[in-house]
Amino acid sequence: MPNFPPVDGSEEAHEPRDGDERPMSGVEQSDLELVRRVQRGERAAFDLLVLRYQHKVVKLVARLLRDPAEAEDVAQEAFVKAYRAIGSFRGDSAFYTWLYRIAVNTARNAMASRQRRPLDYESDLSESEQSTVESRMRHSDTPEAVALSDEIHRTVNRAVGDLPEDLRTAVILREVEGLSYEEIAQAMDCPVGTVRSRIFRAREAIDRSLKPLLE
């Protein structure tokens, strides 16, 4: 097990309190299970949390910074901070809420730092700095990235539209409405195992459509 250094005491490490005890959703429980694994030294579990929340965090940071070119760097920093501070996460709030708070604080710091920084002009940049800027531009809201995001959206919607009705209903109730398997089972009047299978098959169909785009 790794030797954990102490949390840096930053504001981000503080876990917001939700007040009274509240029931956890399945996703929150799943996140908490992954967090516990990270706390026990399983780095791979943190990779899954990054995969799960990367789009949400990058989107949030991009909105706050109003500078898409910087969003991924700041989002990356937020995830690194979250990893460092994860030992202090007790599960009093949803992991996502906690992560959001870290992302917001990291974005705020980035904005403050930007205000202190003199303006950069391309002509003043060294070759390596120029390369960094170009690298950043590749990652974010470039026209290509926006076009890809739109294409992904169209592809997913087309794939969902082509699904059999029972698979489409199940995946929409899960992904868009956020219902649990139990709730979907009640709504669709079928066993929970069937819901699980339908959602999986729907995702497989979407994945087959998406794969060429994402490779």
């Binding site: 990779d47 989107k59 991009a62 990893y83 995001s149 992904i152 998406l210 994402l214």
Partner: protein
């Protein structure tokens, strides 16, 4: 890769996988890039269904975070201390605040009371002030030692908002008066500061 594992990934994403199955799956995913790709693809499908511009992170974002953690040698933090046994979370902060306030009040009493108490006692009009036994620091009788004064002054610096102005002033006066470093400082050196 079997459909069973992919179905487990789907259930994990929804928080519907049994806790006992999660560990093995996480370890499998750590070794298998295709399983991680599937997980990421399911996430993208969900994000995209929820909002048109929902997929914004670049393809290699997660890999870069992982590399940053590995290359930077970022170790994980110490797990948080266990909860205080039998004490609900919501009670801890108020109790801590009350303890700080009580401690500050006690410090102020100890600093101000001794003289006033002696005067009243000497006059025979009132009994000596009753101080709880637990509060009887080695203050009574002799003057407070340097260490005691410094400790009290430090305490008041940290919790100054709870202490009375008189208490703060007395603590500082005592600490400065008994500090040998200050006493030994020649006036010309003091003047340079």
């Amino acid at each position: 890769m079997t459909d069973q594992i992919r179905e487990q990934i789907s259930a994990l994403l929804d928080g519907e996988l049994a806790a006992g199955e999660t560990g093995l799956l996480v370890r499998r995913m750590e070794r298998d890039t295709e399983l991680r790709r599937v997980f990421a693809s399911y996430v993208i499908a969900g994000e995209s269904l929820r909002s048109p511009g929902g997929v914004v992170a670049s393809r290699d974002f997660a890999a870069r975070v992982s590399a940053a953690l590995a290359e930077g040698g970022v170790a994980m933090p110490v797990p948080a201390p266990e909860r205080v046994a039998g004490m609900p979370q919501k009670w801890r902060r108020p109790l801590a605040g009350a303890a700080v306030a009580a401690g500050a009040a006690l410090a102020a009493v100890l600093l101000v009371q001794p003289d006033a108490g002696r005067e009243r006692f000497a006059g025979g009009r009132a009994a000596p002030p009753v101080v709880p036994a637990a509060a009887m620091m080695p203050v009574g009788g002799a003057s407070p030692t340097l260490a005691q004064n410094q400790r009290l002054a430090g305490y008041l610096v940290a919790h100054g908002q709870y202490a009375t102005p008189i208490g703060r002033r007395v603590a500082w006066s005592n600490a400065l008066a008994t500090d040998p470093g200050i006493a030994r400082m020649p006036p010309e050196v003091a003047g340079q500061r």
